[in-house]
Amino acid sequence: MSGPSTSTTPTAPVRRRTGLFRTAWRFGRTKVGVALAGLIVLIAVVGPFVAPYTPTEFVARPFESGADGTLFGGDNRGRDVLTRFLWGGWTLLLLAGASAGLGVAAGTVIGIIAGYRRGWVDDVLMRTNDVLLAFPQLIAALLVMSIIGPKVWLIVAVIAVSHMPRVARVIREATRKVIEQDYVKAAEAIGLPRGRIMAVEILPNVTSPLLVELGLRLTYSIGVVAVLGFLGMGLQPPTADWGLMINENRQAMAVQPWAVALPVTAIAILTVGANLITDGLSRAAIGIDRGVEK
């Protein structure tokens, strides 16, 4: 506590510490990540409105490249590849976003409760988590899909549940650090209800690891949703979906490469972009936790 060099002049105007986002933005990787991910999100969101055809319209012969009026030719049924590509993104993003969001939210709640209440509550929650963790993410998804059948809500639920224990572990650790702080004890001393303590005192102080987790889980979700689509356990034909597109068109990859290359590239760029953003966020979070600038 002796002489922190950063606060030498007590008279200097006090400046609020830069937030997580602003710190993360200073890293070049974050900017690249935002550009990459932003590009793909833009394609997925605007795509359906600018697509030249409807996604199920037949405009060429199957696997015909260079047909009139198409930029990238036709797919396995003779539908326009560009149109299907433009239409196929938003379902992927929506499913990935929803499952990551739900999974992180549930994991956060469980992590904070387990970290704060300790005792048997902690044991029950975390041992249940361990059981869930024992299932590999993708295998568990495939197992449930093949039993119940591929349904959209099920995809979201299964991926969310598989994220939950991983998030819960991280948040539980962060919570344990926070509850050592006296402001939590101060709230207990005045008898603030436990729920409010968790929501008002603890949650705002675990946002840094929370954001990093969210980015990480989003990346994983994109991968899992795409793989499920590819394996036929995700969205069903004739829906336009990137994962599905890769599966449908892979037999004719040599003849009509665009139908596979476009969705593959898009998923790759999106994943790399999301990863870079997450990386920037986690670096910023570490810096903030240590109390150092830059």
């Binding site: 002796s2 002489g3 030498t8 002049t9 006090v14 400046r15 008898g191 102080n205 830059k294």
Partner: protein, 565 residues
């Protein structure tokens, strides 16, 4: 810098000392360090010198640049700081001219460093023997020579030197032992200069007295020059030969210790000197006899953690408007007792009666009225405020929960801040925009916002600079004048002798002495109390114009303390 007082009275060394001067180990000449990217001068044009076998006390408050200066002597610069002017000579070496490799050889041999917190400075995974041998890092020595040297230095710091001790890990030692290991590590290489960065701040007075004695005898014996960095004038006055006072990066005063203490030139030095709480052993007024039922009565209380019993048979009472001090060293159970009163420590048995009603063990089983009337202020203001909430919300949160939704929330905040002597505009700030003292005031404002009858203060000044401590103590006294009762928990006996009406001395979970402050301070009955009083650095203000502090009543005492605020 407008004045150069450091040159006027320096004895034993010439002002513009070159390394050629015999006996001068360290000389710093016009050193300026700036922080990037704002180019703020952390240290501006500082010149000091230290002779062989002498100790320079470097005094200043947090942020005055004293630690930065101390680290510069090892040619270690904190992140984003840069030396832009001046020279540092250690022995005959100019630090600026050294290569990275030479700097590594310099550290530990020519210059050694003793950090503030030994617990975090010792490697928890290394045995003490390995750690000490590593500090010696001299390739010319054989194994047995290293082992002999390590044992020798351990004997010198009064630690055991047997094999079993060398195989211990740092966590198996007490805080005082850890600090002595850190001292041994610093002295093992027979350095020319040793930099001590507040090495006794976290220690009890008894341990502090031992550690200071060790440091003093070691520097004399080795002929090492010492730079002792501290914010506590009392410790420095006890130890140093020279004193240098830093204020906002500048050296405002420098001279022989007795000269600085008896005739301080700079206004800031006077303020620092007057902020030191003096141990008053006489002249206490007899507190008025309190009749009727006390506000808080603790009877036969025992508490523990698991199977470990920490407190045994505690009897204590606090009357309305009275300040009762609970004095004890770390591990004496004083925090456990105060937390039991606040409902934060649940594992206790015995009577706890507040205003005629028994208190439940957990704060959650107490009535809202009881929770409102007993408020708790935490030791460390850096941890006691939620960093994500504005001061305004920190104050209004407990108020809404315990009193109800206020009609004029702004007024509640402004009044609470005013009672803690902060401007109402502070309500919009976040904790990180406040200094340590301001944070502690916000904590007090949060506690007094609900108009409690009893304020439990757990070591609330120990994390703060001495000058800030004095202001907080003054604030507490004014709250007490308003009729609030205080349970003041501390290890600082000098502070207690100035603020308390009655004192309970806690030693290893039992109250060994309990009485009015005049009684306990002037005629201590228990030998533990006598030892505490003897180990406190004796310090007296002798400069002309200083208030004659001994023999004055409590009221004037308070006015004297705050003159710098």
């Amino acid at each position: 810098m407008t004045e150069q007082p450091e040159n006027t009275r320096a004895e034993g060394s010439t002002a513009d000392s070159r390394p050629s001067t015999e006996g001068t180990v360290l000389s710093v000449d016009g050193l300026t360090v700036i922080g990037r990217p704002s180019d703020v001068e952390i240290i501006s044009d500082v010149s000091v010198s230290v002779n062989r076998g002498e100790i320079l006390g470097l005094v200043g408050e947090s942020g005055s640049g004293k630690t930065t200066l101390g680290l510069t002597l090892l040619r270690h610069l904190k992140r984003a700081t840069e030396i832009v002017g001046g020279r540092v000579w250690v022995g005959r070496q100019d630090l600026a001219s050294l290569s990275e490799r030479q700097v590594r050889e310099l550290r530990g041999r020519a210059v050694a460093y003793i950090p503030q917190s030994p617990a975090s400075a010792l490697n928890p995974a290394l045995r003490l023997g390995d750690q000490l041998s590593e500090a010696l890092h001299d390739p010319t020595l054989t194994r047995s020579e290293i082992a002999d040297r390590v044992r020798e230095v351990l004997r010198e710091v009064a630690l055991p030197d047997d094999h079993a001790f060398l195989r211990r890990y740092p966590h198996q030692l007490s805080g005082g032992q850890q600090q002595r290991v850190a001292i041994a590590m610093a002295f093992v290489g027979r350095p020319d200069l040793i930099v001590l960065d507040e090495p006794t701040t976290g220690l009890d007075v008894t341990t502090q007295a031992h550690v200071l004695e060790t440091i003093r005898s070691m520097t004399r014996e080795y002929g090492t020059a010492g730079v002792y960095i501290s914010h506590d004038m009392a410790v420095v006055a006890d130890l140093a030969d020279d004193i240098a006072v830093m204020y906002r990066g500048e050296l405002v005063e420098h001279g022989r210790a007795d000269a600085v203490l008896s005739d301080p030139q700079h206004e800031y030095t006077r303020r620092l000197l007057m902020a030191v709480p003096l141990l008053r052993t006489s002249g206490h007024e007899e507190p008025p006899a309190r009749d009727g039922e006390p506000l808080l009565r603790i009877s036969g209380l025992s508490a523990g953690y698991g199977r470990t019993q920490v407190l045994e048979g505690i009897d204590l009472s606090v009357s309305p408007g009275e300040c009762v001090a609970l004095l004890g060293e770390s591990g004496s159970g004083k925090t456990t007792l105060s937390r039991s009163v606040a409902g934060l420590h649940h594992q206790f048995a015995g009577g706890l009666v507040f205003d005629g009603q028994a208190l439940a063990t957990s704060s959650y089983r107490r009535t809202a009225e009881q929770r409102r009337r007993i408020q708790y202020v935490f030791q460390n203001p850096y941890e006691a405020l939620n960093p994500r909430k504005r001061v305004r919300d920190q104050i209004l949160g407990p108020y809404r929960h315990l009193v109800g939704r206020p009609d004029h929330p702004d007024l509640v905040v402004a009044q609470a801040l005013e009672r803690a002597t902060l401007p109402a505009s502070y309500g919009e700030r976040f904790p990180e925009q406040l200094s340590g003292g301001e944070r502690q005031r916000v904590c007090i404002a949060r506690a007094v916002a609900t108009r409690p009858d009893l304020l439990v203060c757990d070591e609330i000044t120990s994390a703060l600079d001495v000058s800030v401590q004095a202001e907080i103590v003054k604030l507490l006294r004014s709250l007490q004048d308003d009729g609030m009762a205080l349970l003041f928990v501390t290890h600082n006996i000098a502070l207690v002798s100035n603020i308390a009406d009655r004192v309970a001395i806690l030693n290893q979970g039992e109250i060994v002495e309990y009485g009015t402050v005049g009684q306990v301070m002037s005629a201590p009955e228990h030998e533990y109390t006598r030892a505490l009083i003897a180990d406190t650095p004796d310090f007296e203000l002798s400069f002309p114009g200083a208030p004659e502090r001994l023999g004055l009543g409590l009221e004037q005492e308070g006015r004297g303390v705050d003159s710098g605020a």
